[in-house]
Amino acid sequence: MATDFFQDIMNDVVNVITNDGRNFVGTLISYDQKMNIILTDCNERVYESKDVPVEAVKMNLYSIRGDNIATIGKIEMDIEEDIDYNQVKAEPINPTHIF
């Protein structure tokens, strides 16, 4: 069940992709059964194009409504520390198509 997963990643740094194609990284401090979540120390990772490195925009305390969430991943800090984000360049994530 999804609740087991949330209990597992509680108070960990998570990576959230939303349906409008935005990417947030922050510490998960709260969730509910509708998958609404609250992140502290939240940064939005803005992917502009393949020529511009990803940019972090500080969002502080951030709450995301459950039905706008596409994926939630737990960030492995040992891998994260080795990544040079000045080298990471990508096109923006596509929004989720709702037909």
Partner: protein, 95 residues
């Protein structure tokens, strides 16, 4: 609940599947758990075409919300389709 049952069996076998999302990302991973909304938890994930899509570089364990899933592909070998069919039939009979 036939599909939830189907993926539950896959998760018990720890099968590796590829989930194609409605936002054009494709994510491969070992299926860990499924719930009634088809929210799926994957472990040891790899994003297909990782160079173009470096959004989940440091993520290994990922929850995918059921309503963003477009389709799912999986290898047809190593999956016990007989058991799945049996479970699905039982599910139908209960209704």
């Amino acid at each position: 609940m036939v599909f939830a049952t189907f993926f539950q069996v896959l998760s018990e076998n720890n099968a590796r599947i590829t989930i194609h999302l409605k936002n054009d990302l494709a994510i491969e991973g070992n299926i860990q758990s499924v719930d009634e909304y088809l929210n799926i938890v994957l472990s040891e994930i790899d994003v297909v075409n990782n160079e173009e899509n470096p959004y989940l570089l440091s993520v290994k364990k990922l929850l995918i919300r059921g309503n963003t899933i477009s389709h799912i592909s999986m290898p047809d070998h190593g999956i016990d389709t007989d058991t799945i069919q049996e479970l699905a039939m039982k599910d139908m009979e209960r209704k």
